[in-house]
């Protein structure tokens, strides 16, 4: 039963990611191509996971290893997207951040090392345990980073409503995952991966919506040009 439920949730996730990709292509967003790559990568991971689920079943060791390994890969990809969003926010605010990539790499290495060390000291170091710990820590780190990015964007007056929505979508993804992982540590939640999958799908829907909706600032920005053109035409008409 859970196998089929997981399958349907995975299909819903794929549809949400497809909607996100369609929204990306429709909006033809410049500078955010990393989002399309992220969605494609997550889709590829999900298809591989689906293959393993079909072959080995929901309760198999192979599926649990594959689930956490792919989750680590998706989390790392999400972290790269977040770092890229920070970079874009700096570029849009006409500021330079040469230290950003090195800093992001150092931060990630630090979190991964601490997660591995924590698991090694208090538990047996396996991929599943390391995956859970890393995912939990990366979710919290992602949440803090997206909060800092949001505050920084407001402080630096970074333009772009769509860009702000995208950042908020990632904030929703990371904060909901961090909340779920903390709750799972406090009280054991049965079928926890199911819940994480549902929450990730919901966040992808937010991302798709962010990309799909038009940017009102562009309409506002185009109004003066229209009025200038109209004035030029009317003055030209009057002169002739």
């Amino acid at each position: 039963m859970f196998s089929s439920l997981m399958l349907w949730i995975a299909i819903a996730g794929e549809l949400a990611r497809l909607a996100g990709l369609a929204a990306f292509l429709r909006a033809s967003v410049r500078g955010l191509s990393v989002l399309a790559w992220y969605l494609l990568f997550a889709m590829a991971m999900d298809f591989s996971e689906y293959f393993v689920l079909q072959r080995y079943g929901y309760r198999s060791h192979a599926y649990s290893v594959c689930y956490y390994a792919f989750d680590i890969a998706i989390i790392i990809a999400g972290y790269i997207v977040l770092a890229r969003l920070v970079e874009i926010a700096f570029v849009r605010s006409r500021m330079q951040a040469t230290w950003l990539r090195r800093g992001a790499l150092l931060l990630f290495t630090g979190v991964a090392t601490i997660s591995a060390w924590y698991v090694y000291i208090y538990d047996r170091l396996t991929l599943v345990r390391f995956g859970i710990r890393l995912e939990q820590n990366m979710s919290y780190l992602g949440m803090i980073l997206s909060l800092l990015l949001w505050v920084g964007m407001n402080g630096l007056l970074t333009p772009g409503l769509r860009f702000r929505r995208v950042v908020l979508s990632f904030s929703i993804l990371y904060s909901s995952c961090a909340m779920l992982y903390a709750l799972h540590q406090l009280i054991f939640i049965p079928h926890f991966p199911l819940l994480v999958q549902i929450v990730s799908n919901a966040s992808i829907v937010f991302l798709a919506f962010s990309l799909w909706t038009a940017e009102p600032e562009l309409e506002i920005a185009s109004q003066p040009e229209v009025s200038v053109l109209a004035t030029a035409e009317t003055s030209g008409g009057a002169a002739s």
Binding site: S146, L147, L168, I172, S175, Y181, L186
Partner: protein, 131 residues
Amino acid sequence: MPFLIALRNHWDTLVVFFSAAAFLIYALCMFAHLRLLAADLGELDRLRQDGLMPIARNLHEDYRTLSYLLEALAPTVAVRRELWVSIYYRLLRAGQWCFRGSFFERELRGLVAYQASLYRLAYSRLIEPEL
């Protein structure tokens, strides 16, 4: 007592849980706030000038009237009613009840303006079905 034991043993996890929950609610509210930024604040006055809306005592009454009108009109003219509007309205009411500040007033004004623009769309579709 079990709660206190949990608090002593898992205080760091509790900090993570509550901060993540608070940030999640904040992010969802900001998502709604960004949606309201595009709302035309003069739409409500225009509706009143056109005689489509009665004069109300406050914004809450305006919201209730607009919700009632949209509930009656929206399904017949295929205007989508959005669930987040009512959730956000209740959240704003709760916020106004707990804290004093101009933020909630501004947000409520934006929400009413958003509803007013939806009502305008529904009304224009009713009188000109090809729109």
